[in-house]
Each structure stands twice: as C-alpha cells, then as structure tokens.
Amino acid sequence: MDQKVLKRLVESISKSVNSFKKSEIECFIRIFHNVVGRGDVKLANVGLDRNTFRVILHSIFGMTDDVLMNRVFFAFDKDNDNYINVKEWVKGLSVFLRGTFEEKLKFCFEVYYFNGDGYISRERIYDMLKNSLHQQSPEEETDEGIRELVDIALKKMDYDNDGRISFADFEKAVKEDRLLLEVFGPCLPDAKVQWQQRIGLGEIFKDLKRNPC
C-alpha cells in the first residue's frame, strides 16, 4: 500500500474524527484494507458490503440480531451507496468505540428509526421487538404480548403522546435512564468489547487480522 496515499488519507480523516489518534486511524485503515482485500485498488473507491460488515459485527462486536445488524450497516453507510467506504468505516467506529454520549444517542436513534421520517413509529418498534419474547405459548398470545410490550415502551418514551418516538422523546428518555440507550436491541459493542478497547484497539481486531474474512 502506498505510504503517501495512506498518510494523506489519515490526515484527511483525522480532521473529522477527533476521538482516535492518527496511529489508530492508520491502524483502522489497514484493517479496512485487509478486510476489503484489494490493496491495489484506490481505497476511496471500494467499500465493505453488507455481508462482510455483518460478519464483523457478529464476530467482533457480538451482535446477533439480523434486523439490527442491517440497520447498523445503514447507519454506517452515510451516503447510502450500500457500501461502507473507508471514511465511513473510521467515522462509524469512532462513534462505536469512543463515541460520546450524545454521539451514541444519535447513532442509536438512527439505527432504530432507519429510513423513516425521523420518528420511531409503533410499527417499527413492533418489528424490532417481535423476537424479544421466548416462544412458549401459542403464536397469537406471543403476538399480543409483543403488542403490550410495545405499549409499555411507548408509554415510557413517548413524552408528547403522539404515538411515536421523536428524537426529543428518545433523548429525554435516555438521559433519564441510560439503560434505554439500546432500548430496542443491542446496536453498540457489548460491554466486554468496551473493556477490551481500554486495553488497546488493536486487541479487538486481533482475531480479524489473523483471520481476515
């Protein structure tokens, strides 16, 4: 990989990403490069496709929910071209791993309202929660249970009582109780990863380096 190109890339990314040191940005670019596996092509023009990204989310960040992994993908993919380019990659990871509370708040909201009109609607909540009850009773009853659960969540978070959750609602609810940050399912690295990243970012991707997907 061309050192000059790399350096320029690091410089340009570091202007918009404050939470990583330049060496860390470089490290992420290398990882990206590794994963994409096409060192010869100009980095700016390639990206991670959804499946590759989901593998990373699953194997490194411990995510399991397909629906949510897709949404996290779209939250990373700012330009909606169905690929995560290197800038989106580093930017996304910075929120993921070192994000401030406000950044994470926005990120999670984006994941949850995905492709909507800026509100998390009752239907969307239903979609996200539909697998959250263990199947133990007939289909119908589980369905009723989920609807009730949606009501509970709305009652808790819909401050302006318009039947949907705006960003203001979301922000207020989460500020009151941080547990609500990932209220509709895990979309941030789990606690274990967060501990590891205190030790060192390289640590997290150790497996990935050794065994690129």
């Binding site: 109780d177 990932e182 399912g185 789990d190």
Partner: protein, 937 residues
C-alpha cells in the same frame, strides 16, 4: 384494632394450639400500649369496666359505614380466605363414601395456595375471587363453585379439554358454601343438621387468629341473649361470617365503649402507627441516626430497627402478605405484567420491563409488595446471575429502591440475593459495583443479613471498594474516572455503615484493614463520602479495639476538622463519634488539643436540629469528664449555654446536657456559675421525669450542686430533697442508687437535716427497706444515706426500730469493696445508739467485718477500723474478733491489721489503736498480738 395488633404482634412459631406472644421489644411496646389504654379506661368508665366479656361482642347495627367518615377502616367483606378455608377443611372431614357423610367429595381445583391464602389466579383475585372448589354431593352432579369475597356461587365449570375453569357466574350468590350446598343438595342439608352437634364441638385451634373474633358473643343484656340464643340453635358454626355488613373488630370496640375520648385515643394510636410506617423509608436512609432521637410517632418502628451498636436488635418482623380481602391495587396487575416480560423476554424485553418498573413509585409499600407477591423478587435476583450487564443494572436499580422495605429485605435474604450481590462487588463495571453496594447497604439492616454478607466474604470486598484513592498520587487521571472511583468508595462505605452494626462485622472490617482506609477517606473533602465514613467509624467506636485504632490513625483530628463542616449530618456523626470515643481519657485530651472543644461549644447555639444537638451535647458530656476540658468549656461560656438548654429540649438532648452539667458540677467555680444562671430550678424540675437515663444524670447533678450550702438552700426550697427521696421508689436500680448518692450531700448540707428527714412520712422506713435490695450499688448508696441519717440521734432511733441492724448485718458477707466501705461506715455510725453494738454482734456482723481488713482498698480499711473500734466496746464482740483472726497464733493472720496500722492514714491508725486498746482489755488472750502491734505502732 384487634386485627391490626394481631398482625403486628410477633408470635412464637407454633405448630398446633394457641400461639403465644414472643418476648420482643415490639410486643412489649404493643402490650404496654394496650395496658395503658385499659388502665385509664378503668378509671374513666368504672361502670363499663365492670362488664366481663367472655367473647368478643358483636351486634347488628343500622349505621351505614359511610357514617364513620375518614380515619376509620370499614370492612364490608363477607368472606375471606381464612373462613372459606375453614369451611372447606371442615366439610372435607365429613365427606367421603357412606350415608352418614354430608358430601361425597369436596376438592380445590388448584393445589397452589398463594401467600395471601387465595388459590384463584391473581387476575381473578382482583375481582375478589378466593378459590374454586369441585363439590360432589350424594344426590347431584359435581358442582364447580367459586368462593369470592362477595359470597359463593356456581361458575361455568371446568371446560373439558384444557381443564380451565369458566369463571362466569351461573347462579345466585349465596352468603357461604354451606348455604349454597343446602340449597343444591337435600342430603347435604339433612346430614348437615345431624352433624351440627359434632361441628360445634370442633376445637377452636383449627382456626387460628381470625376465628374467635367472628364468634357471636354472649352479651350481658338479657333480651339480646334470648334473641341470640334462638338464632344460635339454628346456626352451625360453619357459616360464621353471616352478618351482611360487618365492621372491623376495632370499630366494634369503639362503638361499644361509646365515648368520644377513648375513640380519639384509639384513632390517635392508629394514626400514630400509620405515621410510623410513613417514616420508615425516610429513617432507613440514615442508619446511624435512629439511635438518638425517638419521636413518639416512630416508637414501634424504631424498636424494630434500632440501630444501636450495643444491642444487636434483629428486626425480623412478621411477614405481612398482601391481604386477600383488601382490594388489590391497580399497580398490582401492571407489575405482574412486567414481571411476565422479565421472565419470558430476551435482554431487550427485559430492559424495557425493568425501566418501566422503575417508573412505579417504588418507595410505596403497595408496589414493593406487589413486586414480591407476583414473584418478581426471584426474577430480579436471577437476573443478577446472568451475564447481561444491562439487566443486572436494571435489576439492582429496582432492588435498591424496594429494599428500603424491611419485609423485602428479609425476602431478598431468604431468596439468596445477598451472595450474588456480594459477587457483583468484584465486577469491573463501576456502576454495577456501586449499585450492588448500595443495595447491600439497604438489605444489611438486620442481623441475619449482616451475617450473610460477612460469611460470603462481603466485608473484605466492601473494604476493597474503599481503596479508591490508589491513583490519587497520579495527577493525570481524568476527573470523570476519579468521580466514579469516589462514588465506588462512597457506596462501599455506605454498605459498611449498615454492616458495622454487628459486632463480628466490626471485627471483620478491622481485620480486612478497613480502619486505615476509612482514615484516609476521612481526609477527603467529599461530604457524601464523609457521612458514611464517619457513620461507620461512629458505629464501630463502640469497640475498644477501634477506639485505640481511631486514636492511632489520627482520626480524632479529622473528626474535629469536620465538626466545622457546613453539613449538619456530618457534624452530627462527627460529634457522635467523639461521644463514643471520649470515654477514653487520652482521646478527650486529643479533642482538646486539636481544638475540638470550641466548635462543640459553638454548635450548642444552634438548637434547631435536635439530632445534631443531641450528638453535640453527648460529645460535650463525655469530654467534660476531663477537668482541663471543663475549664475550656467554661472559657467558651458553654456552661451557661448548657443551663439554657435545660428547658424545652427532647429527652435525648436533656440526658446529655444534664450529664455534662453533672461533670462540670464537680468543681466549685462551675457550681457557682450554674447557680448564678438559674440552673438549679430547671434541674430540680427534671427530677419528676420518667426517663431513666435522664434521672440518673439529673440526680447526679443535683447531688453535686447540693455540695454548696447556698445551692442546697435553693434545692430545699424547691422541695428537691423530697423529689430525690421519692426517686428511691423508682423501679430501676440505677436511678435508686443515683438518687441515694445525691441525698447524701443534701442531708449533710441542709439546715436542720434531722428535722427535714423526719418530715418525709415513711421516708426512713423506705430507706431501711432498700437494704433488702440485691443490687450492690443500691446497697452501697443506701448505706451512705443511712450513715448521714444516723448522724441525727432521733432518726437513728427510728431506723433502729425499723430493724436496720439485722438488715445491715445480713449484708456483711460481701466481697464488694464499695459496699464494704459504706457498710462499715454505717455500722460504725449505727453503733452509737442503744444496744446496737451488741445487736450487731448477735446478728453475726463482726466476724465478716474482720475479714474486710484483707481487702486492698484503704478506704475499706479505714472504715472497717472505725467500725471495729465501735464494735469492740462490747466485750463479746472482742471475743468474736479474737476468734476470727485476731488471736490465732499465726502471724500472717495479723498481717492485714499491721498493714492498716502502717498505712499513712492517721484517722484509721488512731481507730486501730483504740481498737487494739479495747481488744486487749477483755482478756490476756490477745497479749502476744498486742505486744506485736505495739512494736509496730
């Protein structure tokens, strides 16, 4: 009231038969309250009090419940789980095959009985349903019956496929099961009447608690009796709850007493109890403070949760499950729904349910108990064992709130919640650690819980949490992490504070190296941290080990420093800690050397916060045991301020104020100050109180004042001596003794003391009779009083008539040096009348007195020498003395005597000299002894 009391009272575990009240502080308080009510009732309404109620009184009333207004609990419930259960159990006994039985079979549809006695599922309980029974009469198909609070009716029966019950009512509502069955089955009706006699013979013990109150009582009015008795004939005990509208027993009482005043008292007690409940959550926030201020409202509750370190009070109290017949609040089923999600949901659903549950008013008992009653506690505790940090946090946030409730605490311990929380203390997640520690702080409010924490290594882990300052040396730490570390330490201290109320935990904290860590945290400036830290130290300072360590770790210095804090609670705990530690002389000096006396003195001027005032006056009391400190307090004008606090203060403050004044009074200068600022009158006024600790201190202070003749005149004028004298009748020995000691200077300094003493009718007899006490301190003090009384010949004659000589003689065989000294002095004084000398000899007082000379106490020697001198004027006594060691040839036996003589006590030596003169006189037997002594003298 009866029901309320039955529930509050703590019963012994009894399998069968009547339960008895356990001897616990709570029960004592309840019984006392009842006695107080009953006693005053007898005097206020002597006529009414003459009626004897063999059974509780019950009658029909035209009063509508609404007429009672607020403040009364009116029950309009016909059936409750207890009565229904009794009916069914009884019917079961008379069911089976054969013609004699009333039914073929009767069975519940569900084996599971909820804690409230119901078997209906909770959502049906909301509708008042208690249980469902399948009844097979001899002459009809199986009936499926719903028993509800409203009555009994047939329901839709069991659906064939799933065994579910169709809950819908299919018939009339009957007032009870028997009535329904009589209607549905002729054979039942017939056989039932045959069984009637047997039924009424059923022993009462089958129906604990609630049964008796429902019996129809025999009343004292003939007309009523006859009416009732006809009813009674047709009635089976079974259908016990037949009155359509029955008021609570408490209400019956009130109306039967039918007096406005007693109503009020009763209502007050109820309000009081209610008030106590409300206070509960508040008072439990600060474990340490309960020990000082006792508001009467909190009385009963306080007794339960007494946090004094000395008495390891176990606050376990009976489990109040939600009453079945109380209407289930709406929160109940909402919470039940949430618990369902906790059980059957994944992490996401669980977190939503947890967050939603937190929105309930978890400080409210209804919600706390609802969570428990729908099985929520088990789930919450299970969540703590999962790997999901979010679930653990959510669960702990709820447990932390509801564990303010004493019952919930107990349930958490029973469900094994504590070991799990103790494990979480090791988690790397700081907020998780904090929550676990805070919850432990709430749960460990009773002894068993504290023991569990210790046994699972919790104390060591909690002490480890205190070690947050590790990085304090490194400057580069970001402030955020530092704040969180401080928070961890604070929560650790909070939990240790609760745990430190058990002796073994104090030891464990010390062994885990907690004291240096606490000492270090004490140097920080975080007020939130300082309060639990000082609280823990204050609690532990009851132990000698700690007081030594507190001295060694230079903790006093920081306690003194924090007396100057702005935070009143912190000031309070620092003062409390000083109060505990200042029993030790060196510590008292340290408080002075670090400049602690001045802030203490100036805190006296702020009297609004009574808890703090009590702690501050306590510290001043203990500090003023050292004379140098008293001098300082005098400099700071604290004595004047203390005198000002003798009125309008709660007893907790008064005890300490008077205690401090008592110490100050040991010096002439201060006694003058107290007199000059008018302190004697309020002190004498306090002699009429009932608080035992206060009386001990007041008598001491008054006695100390009486040393000044000028003050004595005031005391006399205020009738203080009479008040002191009547305290000799106080049931508590400490008060008796203290009053007796105080009387001594009074008699010494009063003008016409003899006349004064005689003026107390029956006073002398009272004093003499106190010689029958079995308390050594009382005996010694009474001896001292008698010594002073006997200075007046006339009074000596009177007490002789009251038999003082045999009583004193009986006491002679004692090893207690204090008693020996005063006894010897009294004997010596009493010898001055009539043939008392001879009488002491006859009552065998002489021989034991001789043995007093072997004591190591010079005061005993001196007094004994005098007594022996007085006694030796009787020849027979001299013989006894000889026989008991004075004349035996062995030299060693004389050694004590020799010691006395050689001791530099002129008075004693002279007495011994005289004594030897006398002892030599009666015969030659003593020659060798006397010769020997002559050489020594």
């Amino acid at each position: 009231m009866g029901v309320a009391l039955t529930r509050s009272a703590q019963w012994t575990a009894a399998g069968h038969g009547a339960k008895t009240l356990e001897v616990t502080p709570l029960n004592e308080a309840i019984v006392k309250e009842i006695i107080m009510f009953v006693e005053s009732f007898i005097y206020k309404y002597p006529q009414e009090a003459n009626y004897v109620f063999v059974e509780p009184l019950e009658w029909k009333t035209n009063l509508d419940p609404s007429a009672f207004g607020s403040g009364y609990a009116v029950r309009e419930i016909r059936l409750n789980p207890g009565t229904v259960k009794n009916d069914i159990e009884l019917l079961k006994q008379f069911s089976g095959k054969g013609k004699q039985t009333v039914l073929e079979s009767i069975e519940y549809t569900s084996d599971y009985e909820f804690s409230n006695g119901c078997r209906a599922p909770p959502w049906r309980q909301i509708k008042g349903e208690i249980c469902y029974v399948l009844v097979k009469p001899h002459d009809a198909e199986t009936l499926c019956v719903t028993c509800s609070k409203e009555g009994v009716f047939l329901n839709g029966g069991k659906t064939d496929d799933e065994g579910q019950i169709n809950y819908e009512r299919k018939g009339e509502i009957y007032k009870d099961l028997v009535t329904l069955l009589k209607e549905k089955s002729a054979i039942f009706s017939e056989n039932m009447s045959k069984q009637e006699i047997k039924f009424s013979e059923q022993p009462q013990k089958d129906q604990p608690n609630e049964a008796p109150k429902e019996e129809v009582a025999i009343t004292h009015k003939a007309s009523v009796t006859s009416r009732k008795s006809t009813q009674e004939k047709n009635r089976i005990n079974l259908g016990r709850s037949q009155l359509t509208k029955r008021l609570e027993p408490s209400l019956n009482w009130r109306t039967s007493v039918s007096s406005k005043e007693s109503r009020n008292t009763l209502r007050d007690t109820q309000v009081e109890k209610h008030g106590g409940k409300l206070e509960k959550s508040r008072s439990s926030v600060s474990p340490g403070r309960a020990q000082l201020i006792r508001k009467s409202v909190e009385k009963i509750e306080e007794i339960i949760s007494d946090s004094s370190s000395e008495s390891e009070e176990d606050e376990e109290q009976p489990d109040h499950r939600q009453e079945a017949n109380a209407d289930l609040p709406s929160e109940y089923w909402q919470i039940q729904k949430l618990v369902k999600y906790l059980k059957g949901g994944n992490q996401t659903a669980t977190v939503i349910a947890l967050c939603s549950m937190k929105d309930f008013n978890l400080a409210q008992e209804t919600c706390q108990l609802a969570i428990r009653d729908v099985g929520g506690l088990e789930v919450l505790i299970n969540l703590l064992e999962t790997d999901e940090v979010k679930c653990k946090i959510g669960s702990l946030k709820i447990l932390k709130e509801i564990s303010h409730n004493p019952q919930i605490r107990r349930n958490i311990v029973d469900l094994g919640g504590l070991p799990v929380m103790v494990n979480i203390l090791d988690s790397p997640h700081k907020s998780l650690k904090c929550l676990a520690a805070e919850t432990i702080a709430n749960v460990a409010k009773f002894r068993r819980a504290r023991r569990v924490v210790r046994r699972h290594g919790g104390i060591t882990k909690l002490v480890a949490l205190l070690d947050c300052g590790k990085h304090s040396g490194e400057p580069a730490q970001s402030s955020l992490y530092e704040t969180r570390d401080v928070e961890v330490a604070r929560c650790g201290a909070l939990a240790l504070w609760s745990c430190s109320k058990s002796y073994a935990n104090k030891e464990a904290i010390r062994k885990a190296g907690g004291i240096p860590l606490l000492a270090r945290l004490l140097k920080t400036s975080h007020e939130n941290m300082l309060i639990p830290v000082v609280g823990t130290l204050q609690e532990c300072a009851s132990e000698e080990n700690y007081r030594a360590a507190i001295k060694a770790e230079r903790i006093i210095e920081n306690l003194v420093k924090n007396l100057n804090s702005e935070n009143e609670q912190l000031q309070e705990h620092c003062a409390m800690a000083i109060y505990q530690c200042a029993e030790d002389e060196e510590t008292r000096d340290l408080v002075r050397l670090h400049g602690g006396l001045k802030p203490l003195a100036s805190l006296l001027n702020n009297t609004d916060n009574k808890e703090r005032l009590a702690a501050v006056t306590g510290a001043i009391w203990k500090c003023s045991i050292s004379k140098e400190n008293v001098t300082k307090f005098r400099e700071y004008k604290a004595i004047e301020t203390l005198v000002g606090l003798l009125t309008d203060q709660p007893e907790e403050v008064l005890v300490n104020v008077v205690g401090a004044l008592g110490e100050c009074c040991q010096e002439h200068e201060n006694r003058v100050i107290i007199r000059r600022c008018g302190g004697i009158q309020p002190l004498v006024n306090l002699l009429v109180g009932i608080n035992q600790a206060l009386l001990v201190n007041v008598t001491k202070a008054v006695g100390a004042c009486a040393v000044e003749p000028e003050s004595m005149m005031i005391i006399d004028r205020l009738d203080g001596v009479r008040l002191l004298w009547s305290l000799l009748k106080n049931p508590h020995p400490d008060v008796k003794a203290s009053a007796a000691w105080a009387l001594c200077p009074c008699i010494q300094n009063a003008k016409d003391a003899g006349e004064m003493v005689r003026s107390f009718v029956g006073g002398l007899e009272l004093v003499v009779n106190l010689l029958k006490s079995d308390n050594k301190e009382v005996l010694a003090s009474v001896c001292a009083v008698i010594t002073n009384i006997a200075k007046d010949q006339e009074n000596l004659a009177v007490i002789t008539d009251h038999g003082v000589v045999p009583l004193l003689s009986k006491l002679a065989n004692t090893n207690n040096d204090k008693l020996r000294r005063h006894l010897a002095e009294t004997i010596s004084r009493c010898c001055m009348w009539g043939r008392n000398r001879v009488a002491f000899g006859e009552h065998k007082a002489v021989a034991p007195l001789v043995r007093y000379l072997k004591s190591n106490d010079t005061n005993v020697h001196r007094a004994t020498a005098q007594a022996l001198y007085q006694l030796s004027e009787d020849a027979d006594n001299c013989v006894t003395m000889h026989e008991n060691g004075a004349v035996k040839t062995s030299f060693s036996k004389y050694q004590p005597m020799v010691c006395v003589i050689t001791k530099p006590c002129e008075h004693g030596s002279r007495a011994i000299g005289n004594y030897i003169e006398n002892i030599r006189h009666p015969g030659d037997k003593s020659k060798s002894f006397a010769d020997h002594n002559k050489t020594v003298t």
